[in-house]
Subunit: 125 residues, 2 copies
């Protein structure tokens, strides 16, 4: 049985969402056991929102759902990679393709990407 | 100033180590502020070992050091990607190139890779 070690993360484990074609890391989010089971059952990435304290179907507001093509698990069974097809072309709520749209240069964060959508339009419908 | 939100992770934030050429996700580990500063200062990936409760230069036992080529930061400043050159060809203490050497098929974990080194030889010197 594919049992993750939710006990090691106090009930929550990190998931790395990675573009299944390009390998770009899109975001990191957390799952509890319910989110894990929903993801396996539906093929759509579900997470546990730590800020809203609720189960979260990625894309439920933006329609930017993540279709899970493959799942990898690490040697300690406490971290997971979802290889996903990111619908809408963007994972980040700030409108960027990836949440990792800045790189560190010296002691500054420099934006390296252009936004794909305008968050005002997508979320304030 | 490139300030990470260590307060959000109770002092520890996750880092995704990714191969700087292939984009393969190699491992996930954690940093505290000291590990972050050591990484920036030396260009070698430092982490905080949660199991040993100490600062950890990746490769200090195995010589499989990670040279950090680029650092990305996410929209919430609470997760980091290290794009690394993995010396020794393997990040996982079990001898695999990546800690994510298994994928989930149905309700089983299936090994998809071959080990690069024998952990007995590398760690029990």
């Amino acid at each position: 049985m594919a049992e993750l070690r939710f006990d090691k993360g106090g009930g929550l484990l990190p998931v790395i969402a990675q573009d299944y074609k390009s390998g770009e890391v899109l975001m990191l989010a957390y799952i509890n056991e319910e989110a894990w089971e929903k993801t396996l059952a539906t093929g759509k990435a579900h997470y546990w929102s730590r800020s809203r304290n609720k189960l979260w179907l990625k894309g439920e507001s933006s329609n930017h759902v993540q279709l899970v093509k493959e799942i990898l698990v690490d040697c300690d069974e406490d971290t997971v990679v979802y290889k996903v097809e990111q619908l809408g072309g963007a994972a980040c709520h700030k409108g960027y393709r990836s949440c990792f749209f800045r790189h560190v240069e010296g002691n500054k964060f420099i934006i390296k990407d252009k936004p794909v959508f305008d968050p005002q339009e997508v979320y304030n419908k």
